[in-house]
């Protein structure tokens, strides 16, 4: 059964004020279009969960959508810090921002516990760090079998996850290649899953290469066909990171007035990702396009 819908409808049906949401993707396939739609629909009091908040959470925080950030590295990758995140965390502007902080390994383990229906996940993490003193969802536990010890993290089960992939069929079986990050476990841990893709494909295409499937239709509630939905991050094989945008954001976001103007122009001022892409223009997108480099096909074999 087709679950294909628009990003507008997926967000308005899937996301409510007060929800905890996980926009997945470790530097790759970040759901920027979904984040912008959440801002346009003026969702409020969200708990934003993400290992690397990146520009997208900086924009959600700047727009006043967030009450809490659960994270492990809040920076502008390769560029510097996140000015809006810092303003909220240091000075409560535009809203107070509660922080729940992990390491990457700790946060991913907590999501994995959530995805696996476990009461906690053990890891050799946080050892020697001051972080556990500041987060009640991190606790030291002794091994039941010898005198070793680990840290445990409580499960994280977001109300909503938005995940992206290169392609999916209309039921939500998705193929992802390149850096997988936490896409799968974020999807499996969340109650509601919005899947956004660069291309829709046939079920036959999915079935031709099942090892490439990152999530199956049973776990997906909405499918959105949103080309360039990860700009200014990237989609392996489709477009590269628009580094100019990452560098520009560092300047824009340091100034509250410029942030407002930017949101007016690039988020409130466009109706959807298609309009955003038109506004970016062909030249800028063509510059981000990589040369082709195809994987050698495998032979699954046709068995009788």
């Amino acid at each position: 059964m087709s679950k294909v819908t628009s990003m507008h409808d997926a967000i308005s049906t899937g996301v409510s004020d007060g929800d905890s949401i996980y926009l997945a993707g470790f530097t790759h396939l970040i759901p920027f279009a979904a984040g912008h739609e959440i801002i346009r629909q003026e969702k409020r009091d969200l708990e934003l969960i993400r290992a690397t908040p990146d520009l997208i959470y900086d924009q959600l925080i700047a727009a006043g959508c967030a009450r809490k950030a659960t994270f492990s590295w809040a920076g502008n990758p390769g560029v510097g810090s996140l000015p809006a995140f810092r303003r909220a965390a240091e000075d409560g502007i535009p809203t107070e921002l509660e922080l729940e902080e992990y390491t990457h390994f700790g946060l991913i383990a907590a999501l994995d516990a959530g995805a696996s229906n476990l009461p906690f996940a053990p890891l050799r993490g946080f050892i020697g760090s001051d972080l556990p003193e500041h987060n009640d969802n991190i606790a030291r536990i002794e091994s039941p079998f010898d005198d070793d010890y680990v840290y445990a993290v409580a499960p994280i089960q977001p109300d909503v996850a938005v995940i992206r992939a290169q392609r999916a069929d209309d039921a939500g079986n998705a193929h992802l290649w390149g850096i997988q990050g936490e896409v799968k476990i974020a999807g499996l841990a969340a109650d509601t899953v919005i899947l956004s893709v660069e291309e829709l494909c046939s079920e036959e295409t999915i079935r031709s290469d099942p090892n490439r499937t990152v999530i199956t239709s049973d776990d997906v509630d909405h499918v959105v066909h949103d080309p360039y939905g990860s700009h200014p991050s990237y989609a392996q094989g489709y477009y590269g990171r628009d580094n100019e945008a990452y560098i520009e954001w560092a300047e824009i976001a340091s100034d509250v007035d410029r942030v407002e103007a930017w949101l007016d122009e690039w988020v409130y001022g466009v109706e959807n990702r298609r309009e955003y892409v038109e506004k970016l223009g062909a030249e800028r997108l063509l510059d981000l396009q990589p040369e082709h480099s195809y994987a050698t096909p495998i032979d699954m074999g046709a068995y009788r």
Binding site: F26, T27, H28, A51, T52, F71, S72, W73, A74, G75, P77, G78, S81, L82, F85, R86, A89, E90, E101, Y102, T103, H104, F105, I108, A109, D112, L123, R124, G125, F126, I127, G128, S129, D130, L131, H134, D148, Y149, G178, I179, Q180, G181, E182, V183, K184, I185, Y234, Q236, G240, R241, N243, Y246, P290, S293
Partner: protein
Amino acid sequence: MNYTKSELMVVAAARELENDDSVLVGIGKPNLACNVAKRTHAPELKMVYESGTIGSNPSSPPLSIGDPVLASGAVSIEPMRNGFNYYLQAGRLDVGFLGGAQIDKYGNINSTVIGDYDDPTVRLPGSGGACEIAGHVDRTLMVTPHSERRFPEEVDFITSPGFVDGREGREELGLDGGPEAVITDLAVCRFDERGEMYVDTLHPNASREDVRAETGWEIEFADDLGTTPEPNEEELRLIREDLDPNEMYTDQAE
């Protein structure tokens, strides 16, 4: 040869790497250092990134640790959970690069907050992968400018453990390995049998006084204090022509 401090830092870091090392790479100078090493004395060096790319072979300098050039041509790509679980935690990685706003005399690193955690003067990005990298690789390396602000006697917050309060402190926690070298714009520092940082070699043109002035405690100097070897022609050519032609991560001479 003319060279700059940042070129010397990259080359000094490159020379810390051995041919059979698996290294968890960072962006910027660490990435340059690994690529210099791989193209000179350590062709078998295996570069692993926090994003889960194993055996990356980047065709151009990555803009982030999740850049597509790290994925294209890699030997393998692991989901994040597996990378941390099976590669880092299980001890499959030899060397890791760490960054941070502060490093103290036991090599503990702060990348979380300056000031009080609940009411910080400066809110820094946080651990990311750093805490577990610091805990689980054999040797950690840090490449950082030398300044009193960055080298306090004790960090405001331990994000990533060095020797904690000395080598025994780290051992009691059950952690192996530890800080190997801190490469600054003045010197290469290492750690003595107590786990305290000392100056092993001074860079050409840097003095003991320079280092003392920029360090927040009475740092000691090796009895046989040496001079950091200068970069050679090939290493400089690689940085300038191949790896960082646009001077994104290094200032370059000439």
